[in-house]
Amino acid sequence: MALGALTLISVGCAGLDHAGTSVLKPKEYVNPPAAMLSRPGPMVDGPGPGVMGMVAWQSSAAGLPAAAQTTQVKFTGQPGMIIGWKTADGWADEQMYSGNSFDFPQNAVYQLKFSGFPAEGFEDLQLYPTLEVRGVDPSTREYLEHSVVPVEITVNDLEHVVHNNMVTKVIYLPDPKHQARAIAGVETLISTQLDPGIDPVQQAERMGTIMVILRFGNKNLQMPTTAVGPDGTVQPVSHQVVSGSGPNARFVPPMPIAMLPADIHGVPGTMIAAGGGVPGQPIAPVAGMGPTPPWGMPMTATPIGLAGPPHLPYGGPAGLKSHTIRNRSDDSIPEPVDHLLIDVKHRPGLNIPEPVRHIQYEEDHPVHQPGELSHPAAGRRRS
């Protein structure tokens, strides 16, 4: 993370020298901020007209119901480790122990809490990893419906974390060409065991299909904080915590802290422009509706001291007559593409034989002379 932030800062400063003139080389490109890159915009990730037909694999083919949309995850490696998670109202401690399994709904990110490590020197350590549970894929469906995805926490991982390193574990199902045996088993890529600069997520996507990603560092998400009360006194703020043990034990399911774009009929969620890929159907991800953040809504500050947009009266008569913001940036933004050509080539391509056009059927029947007939054993008379 530190390296990534440093890179962004250096890029941001590269535009100006001490004299205020540009030091960019001719035709050198400058990326938009990461937040803008993550949302390509209208007509790409929605809203926009539906242009994608139902061309992909369908889970409901032949009348079958949709598959189970949960991934069963089992934490191993630290016997007795206590696992909790973030809920809608706060935190739920001691919801399960290492060695047990839990069905996490897919296409979501969960905030977990690990504590009670049995390893010497880590007894008081508390970790707050995130668990990213990817959606089912045709290549992983068979495995996910029959097997548990193991996530192992080792002493080596804990040592990395206490020494301020971040650990990323990617559990994936290798493609058949990368499997050593015909029996399907998962593989795990760990960021601390890879060469510098190699992203375990990208590496796993090259080797197979990712099912679960666990990321953890040493950040404490339940730090004691304070708040100023109405009377000016400083009061400690406590987190609402539910425990899975004790006289008031309760089980509270985890609440996702983020949702991943869900694939529909095999089409990646970020590519779906209309509901179900069918033109004319309701568009599910409408910007500004439900959990989808608004797109294009101005949030600039106004001279009247309120957040924008400036044309809203905020309960009183509109008095603002003019509010001008001039963008004097020397931007170079190209025109939108009006005709896009994408060449796609698979190697090997589909090679399906011609359908049957002619069937010629012949039968040869044995012909026996009288007295040459043979009788089935079951039909012979016995003496």
């Binding site: 079958l64 598959a67 045709p138 548990v148 029996i183």
Partner: protein, 243 residues
């Protein structure tokens, strides 16, 4: 009528190498494979056959050392439960979830494999229970599943002529399969695929599981195994395993 013992061969996905070239060089296109989502192959075959087949195909669930077998069909309520020494009759075209418990060689272990019934046998009238399709769970399979691996078996009814060429002495052939092989296609070359078995270590979660986890709604009957002495002349069953 030609007297020929009914032979059922097992194709087991446990090794690599060997037959890869044979399967890959097949000169016809096979759209289905063992990696087709569970339930789809049986549903396709049923769709091709047209009307749902009311036939209940007897299967013999053979667990190493014996076990209690519970059968789920369309929800968390089991539809049948019996010792593995009994026969279970299942609907072709449907997928079932089993629960194996009380395994003598694996005490305390619960496993939830699926059985996808693709096709049926055509035994002599009144003799169906004498020719069950074997659904084996070997000691190695169970150990692999407990280690977190997914074991897939395709069981097929062998083509008598091909079987004579491949196994004239009726030995137990070592069947090797490469990871990228289409095992369903390989089974189709050797005979008629009957059942796909998938065994992993996932169990229903405490927070509930979707109904599809338990199957596609086929019927189940538990039957007694017929006495071996009841076989008419000229009829005998033999099961051969190939690894």
């Amino acid at each position: 009528m030609v007297e020929r013992p009914l032979q059922v061969l097992l194709l087991i996905l446990t090794a690599c190498g060997g037959s890869a070239a044979t399967a890959q060089n097949a000169d016809y296109y096979h759209p289905l494979s063992q990696r087709t989502p569970p339930g789809h192959t049986a549903a396709w075959l049923q769709h091709i056959r047209g009307q749902p087949d009311p036939w209940l195909q007897p299967v013999s669930i053979d667990v190493a050392g014996g076990a209690r077998v519970t059968v789920y069909s369309h929800g968390p309520e089991p539809v049948a439960s019996a010792d593995s020494s009994r026969l279970f009759a299942l609907n072709p075209g449907h997928t079932y979830r089993l629960c194996l418990t009380d395994m003598n060689e694996f005490p305390g272990v619960e496993l939830y494999p699926t059985v996808e019934v693709l096709d049926r046998l055509h035994p002599p009238p009144g003799q169906a229970d004498r020719f069950p399709v074997p659904v084996p769970f070997s000691r190695t399979d169970i150990q692999e599943a407990l280690a977190g691996n997914l074991v897939t078996r395709v069981i097929y009814l062998e083509d008598p002529e091909t079987a004579q060429e491949l196994d004239p002495l009726h030995r137990e052939l070592p069947q090797e399969v490469a990871p990228a092989d289409n095992v369903l296609q390989r089974a189709d070359q050797l005979g008629r695929p009957m059942i796909i078995i998938r065994l992993g270590n996932r169990a229903p979660g405490p927070a509930g599981t979707s109904s599809f986890f338990y199957g596609t709604g086929g019927s189940v009957e538990v039957r007694e195994r017929p006495s071996p002495t009841a076989a008419p002349d000229g009829l005998s069953a033999r099961t051969t395993g190939i690894r």
